[in-house]
């Protein structure tokens, strides 16, 4: 979507055009969900939080300034929503068990990629176990470190975009990313050591 298209849709959304607002957020829904699911470690919570984030963005669309890109603005709202939810839930009591469990697929935890039928069940189970370990390691990070590493590695955002989304100096983004990786390295030593 070009910045001109975004500006037009924002203008229409501000005037109360829900369809325009939906067109605006549609490209980000899946990615926001994935981000929130990894942030809070719970699939059904992530659906609620995705809705909350979009609804909050809808209420606040009047305050969106062209300076921030729409994407970073949305991620900023989503991050705040996730942090609030984690705070409410009680820090570090992140549920992490359900995220990669293939048995949970009916609850919406379907990895978007087409499952690799070439791989045997044992291999798939091992992969699921590893993903569970990685998710747990991510959940062990403070929300601040977690957000940065997810935005960089999973959402593919640049340092600059993250700095804008989280309202942080560039140097802080880099140092948090480094610290997050250092902690993950400790947690995941059996998988990355040697």
């Amino acid at each position: 979507m070009s910045s001109h298209q975004v500006a037009t849709l924002v203008q229409r959304a501000r005037a109360g055009d829900v369809v325009a607002f939906e067109q605006l957020v549609q490209p980000y829904l899946g990615r926001l969900y994935n981000y929130l699911a990894r942030m809070v470690g719970d699939a059904s919570d992530a659906e609620d939080l995705t809705q909350d984030a979009i609804l909050r963005a809808h209420r606040a669309i009047g305050s969106f300034r062209g300076g921030a890109t729409f994407q970073t603005w949305l991620y900023r709202i989503a991050t705040n929503i996730a942090v609030d939810a984690l705070r409410r839930r009680g820090r570090q009591k992140v549920k992490v068990t359900s995220l990669d469990d293939p048995l949970q697929s009916e609850e919406g935890l379907v990895p978007r990629e087409v499952p690799d039928t070439q791989r045997d069940p044992l291999e798939l189970a091992e992969a699921a176990e590893l993903h569970g370990e990685v998710q747990q390691a991510i959940a062990s990070l403070s929300p601040k470190l977690r957000a940065v590493v997810l935005l960089f590695d999973m959402q593919g955002m640049s340092y600059e975009e993250i700095a804008e989304a989280l309202d942080l100096p560039l140097g802080t983004v880099k140092s948090r990313l480094f610290n997050a990786r250092a902690r993950l390295r400790e947690r995941l030593a059996p998988y990355v050591g040697g």
Binding site: Y33, E47, S63, F64, N80, R112, K144, L150, R181, L184
Partner: protein, 186 residues
């Protein structure tokens, strides 16, 4: 301090200087000059070489996590809530024009605001611009919310702690953490 301790401290300090380059290397953002400098250090320093290797594996693990997709229920649920939110928003905006009671209440509120304003002016004279004038603004604040007023997003954003650092303190930045890194890199 023995001479081997001295050497180790010296080495740790040198390795610390490479942390930014190691970070950039792992993130894939290092420039050619930085990479060359780091390469020279890694050729001579097994600890940092191992650190880079392991951090790169960490990055691969986080990047390779499967993308999770929401259930099919998300979109319709969201569409319904968006429309409900818009309806209640319009209600707040134009609601006072419909039921008579609300119109009456708005009229009373307006009169109250005017009365307080007049009272303050009468008490302090038209020239009075100190304290009480600002209090009138506060008292009159139950005016209906305007959609053009700055939306509350910035308040939420600042309340989140990521903006003002009210979450748990950053336990470690570059300096604090390098001790730890050096400890387990040994």
């Amino acid at each position: 301090m023995s001479s081997t301790d001295g050497k180790r401290v010296h080495k740790m300090e040198r390795c610390r200087d490479y942390r930014r380059l190691i970070g950039a290397e792992v993130d894939g953002t290092a420039d050619a000059e930085g990479r060359a400098a780091l390469r020279r250090h890694l050729d001579a320093c097994a600890d940092c070489a191992r650190e880079v290797r392991e951090l790169q594996r960490v990055r691969r693990l986080t990047r390779d996590l499967p993308t999770l997709a929401p259930s099919a229920a998300l979109k319709p649920a969201l569409a319904a809530r968006l429309r409900a939110q818009r309806a209640s928003w319009l209600d707040r905006l134009f609601g006072s024009l419909r039921p008579n009671e609300i119109r009456l209440a708005a009229g009373v509120a307006l009169l109250l605001v005017l009365a307080i304003g007049v009272g303050v002016v009468a008490l302090h004279g038209p020239g009075a611009t100190s304290g009480p004038a600002t209090r009138v603004v506060e008292i009159s604040s139950p005016a209906p919310p305007s959609p053009q007023a700055p939306a509350p997003a910035d308040e939420y954003l600042q309340g989140c702690g990521l903006v003002h650092g009210t979450l748990d303190q950053d336990q470690a930045y570059w300096g604090a953490d390098s001790v730890q890194l050096a400890t387990y890199a040994r």
